[in-house]
């Protein structure tokens, strides 16, 4: 028989026992719905985590440090023990290439690179009125505004990448405000003075041009060196360490567990300033000292970065970037290995959710077998008549297969719709729950097209497999028995 005739006959047969076939189809629909709901949840959670990680800036960035023979300076602060391409016995004699402005430009011109920024981290004394408070201050690139931590901050992010502004961590703000007997939120808009150890370049004739530029900038920015540590040794350093201070506007208060400030750091600091501002401050950095020692052997002297964070437009660009960075003579580190195992975890989660979802479909397939076996008993005579009229066993088998397939298709389509509905309800409930907990709502639900097509296809396949036994039984029915007059 032609497929069109088969499907017409199958449709007619399905309509004849409307209630039973509808219930069976509904059973399949519920099975498919549970599968879709489970997998959508898995996919949704995976996308949620993926989004979070991407926004954290940890997975699309490579941390670049100069190769060094000094201790474990090259190791990233977080996860320092495993991933960092440490010195591993590299001879000290092979002078490592310093991370200077030229290197920064070169990195910025690598393919897919979005941003290259250094991280500055230093201890400063924050003063508001008479009281002062020591705090760790970290620099933040403009891109950090997309960080989760700043979603729920009070006030706002830096108004520009060069604005002389500061964002306080909540506990620091509370302590500062307590000194003034103010609520912490009132600090926003106030000015704090930050005192820190700054580099003061030596006289032009003894310092190199880069240092002189820095000095000019510093002066124009109103930094007032008030104590010079001038000594004969300064000449060898190229700069002297001076106590410096700068007034900064408090623009926001953030309550973050972790903020990505670059430099491989994923910890928190007491306060944050824009990268450009931190750079202008000419803060004494940890690497300054080691470079002094190195420079004294090479004779060169310039402003160097302790680290640079290179961000690409997509995590997929990381391996190539890492290779390029290593070629340039620096160490490169990224958290891609961590994401890789995370992907595996989600694959297993999806598999488990899929298995649970499929259980309901397996039960539903028993419904198909039951319904079709019942139909054989009821339609014995009809099957006999069809055979007497010349229908082959294959025709009868295909007829029952088509009926199973139609139920599977209808159940699949209805199930996807139902599953989508269940997902919407779960999403709504989660949103309401998260709102109650004062957590911003999250999309934990995702129904990609492959899931829709896959669920319907799976439903049809499962139904056909379930229809195999009844179809074979119907095909093997003895027409003489079936037609015997009762």
């Amino acid at each position: 028989m032609k497929f069109r005739d088969l499907s017409e006959l199958a449709g007619r047969n399905l309509r004849e026992a409307v209630l039973r076939n509808t219930l069976t189809t509904l059973g399949i629909a519920v099975g498919v719905a549970s599968l879709v709901a489970m997998l959508s949840l898995g996919v949704g959670l995976q996308e949620l985590v993926g989004r979070r990680l991407e926004r954290s800036g940890l997975f699309d960035s490579v941390l670049v440090r100069p190769r060094t023979g000094f201790g474990n300076q090259g190791q990233p602060r977080m996860l320092g023990s495993g991933g960092g391409p440490g010195p591993g016995g590299a001879p000290i004699a092979a002078t490592p290439r310093p991370l200077d402005e030229a290197a920064r430009l070169q990195l910025a011109h690598l393919p897919n690179v979005v941003e290259v920024y250094p991280e500055f981290r230093f201890t400063g004394d924050l003063r508001l009125g008479p009281g002062g408070h020591l705090a760790q201050i970290a620099s933040l690139p403009a891109s950090a505004s997309g960080n989760d931590a700043f979603e729920s901050m009070k006030g706002h992010f830096f108004s520009s990448p060069t604005a002389r502004e500061i964002i306080l961590q909540l506990d620091l703000a509370q302590e500062l405000a307590a000194l003034q007997q103010l609520p912490p939120a009132d600090l926003i808009g106030k000015e704090v003075v930050v005192r820190y150890a700054g580099r003061q370049p030596l006289e032009p004739e003894t310092s190199d041009p880069a240092a002189r530029d820095t000095a000019a900038r510093d002066t124009s920015n109103g930094r007032r060196p008030n104590q010079e540590l001038a000594s004969p040794e300064d000449a060898a350093l190229g700069f002297s360490i001076v106590s410096s201070q700068v007034p900064l506007h408090v623009v926001g208060i953030v309550d973050a567990e972790a903020v990505t400030s670059g430099g491989g750091g994923f910890g928190r600091a007491g306060a944050y300033v824009p990268v450009a501002v931190a750079q202008q401050l000419a803060v004494v950095q940890g690497n300054d000292m080691s470079e002094i020692v190195r420079d004294s052997t090479t004779g060169s002297r310039a402003e160097h970065y302790a680290n640079l964070t290179v961000r690409v437009n997509h995590p997929s660009g990381i391996p190539a970037l890492e290779a390029a960075v290593k070629d340039m003579g620096y160490t490169a580190f990224s958290l891609q290995d961590v994401t890789r195992s995370l992907t595996r975890v989600f694959a297993i989660l999806d598999l488990l959710l899929g298995i649970f979802g499929s259980l309901a479909l397996a039960v539903a397939s028993l419904g198909i077998i039951n319904t079709l076996v019942m139909a054989i008993l009821e339609r014995r005579r009809e099957i006999g008549v069809l055979k007497a009229l010349g229908a082959s066993n294959g025709d009868i088998r295909q007829l029952f297969f088509t009926e199973a397939g139609v139920m599977g298709l209808a159940g699949g389509v209805a199930g996807v719709a139902l599953g989508w509905g269940i997902g919407r309800v779960i999403q709504l409930a989660t949103t309401i729950y998260l709102r109650r907990q004062a957590i911003p709502a999250e999309n934990i639900w995702s129904v990609p097209w492959w899931l829709v097509a896959g669920a319907i296809g799976f439903s049809v396949v499962v139904s056909l497999v379930a229809g195999m036994y009844p179809a074979t039984r119907a095909a093997q029915l003895d027409p003489v028995e079936a037609l015997r007059y009762e």
Partner: protein, 302 residues
């Protein structure tokens, strides 16, 4: 029950030889030879069908040899349980013999593949049952269309074929009715239309009048007879016999099981009486047997 226009009412009593208008009167009634002959529609040789019921063996058909000529109208009589239905099922290829063979139009059913057997049932054979066996949820038209669907006849041809078949049984006006809305006789006529729609060479009927009153049964037999000898029995000048009659000019061999000897004598040209799975008696009635000329004229199936 009105009589429909395609069968000529035949009087009870002495049967006169009716010939095709063009046929020579002298060529009537050649003797039926027991041996093989051209024009044998069905040849049965030592056919047996035994059912094993535990230790007992039921010999439903127990060694039958029979030849049915093209254009024959054979009535099978016999007591209940004598194996009539079993024999018919073997001819239809619905059942397989325990031993012996059946040749239909020269081909042995036992040598056919299952697919060939289903084509045999679909195209060569038309079956009519005592209980009509129409599919109750389908309309008259859909019931008659079923063999065309199975034969994969193009959709465009089907309505015309269905209408022709229904015109032949006088039910062209009841296309969209369901079997439940028809009388028993009308249902049997639909079943006959369904059996004829693929223009089979052989019509197998198992007690087609068993569920009908005698007047209606008579009517059904007249219809079957008209299918058996369409031109001869179609009254000349009856209006409306055109397309249907044109398609009906090929003689259809009929093997009909019945309990009613009177009907058999009136319409069949041969009567086979069965008892305990064997042929107990063979006789010829006064009705005309198909002539060689008539067969030649109507086209002998190859």
């Amino acid at each position: 029950m009105e009589s429909h226009p395609y069968t000529k009412p035949r009087g009870v009593g002495p049967v006169t030889t009716e010939l095709t208008p063009g046929a020579e009167p002298t060529a009537a009634q050649p003797p039926i030879e027991p041996g093989g002959r051209d024009g044998a529609a069905i040849r049965i040789q030592n056919l047996a069908r035994h059912y094993k019921m535990g230790s007992a063996t039921i010999r439903a058909v127990d060694g039958i040899s029979l030849e049915v000529h093209s254009g024959d109208f054979v009535a099978v009589l016999g007591a209940s349980g004598s194996g009539k239905s079993s024999l018919l099922n073997l001819l239809a290829g619905l059942d397989h013999p325990t031993s012996g063979s059946v040749f239909v139009l020269g081909r042995e059913l036992g040598a056919m593949t299952p697919i060939e057997l289903s084509r045999h049932r679909n195209g060569t054979i038309g079956m009519v049952f005592q209980s009509f066996n129409l599919l109750p949820r389908m309309t008259v038209m859909e019931n008659v269309e079923l063999p065309l669907r199975i034969a994969e006849v193009p959709r465009a041809e089907r309505p015309q074929r269905v209408r022709e078949a229904l015109e032949r049984v006088g039910l062209a006006a009841r296309l969209t009715h369901r079997p439940g809305e028809l009388s028993g006789g009308e249902q049997q006529r639909v079943a006959i239309a369904r059996a004829l729609v693929n223009r089979p060479r052989i019509l197998l009927a198992d007690e087609p009048t068993g569920n009908l009153d005698s007047a209606t049964g008579e009517e059904i037999l007249r219809l079957i007879s008209s299918i058996n000898k369409p031109v001869a029995s179609a009254a000349p000048g009856v209006p409306g016999v055109n397309v249907a009659a044109a398609h009906a000019t090929t003689a259809t061999t009929v093997v009909m099981v019945t309990h009613e000897r009177a009907l058999a004598e009136r319409y069949a040209n041969r009567i086979v009486t069965m008892a305990d799975g064997r042929i107990a008696r063979q006789e010829r009635t006064a009705n005309p047997a198909p002539t060689a000329e008539a067969i030649a004229e109507k086209g002998v199936p190859s």
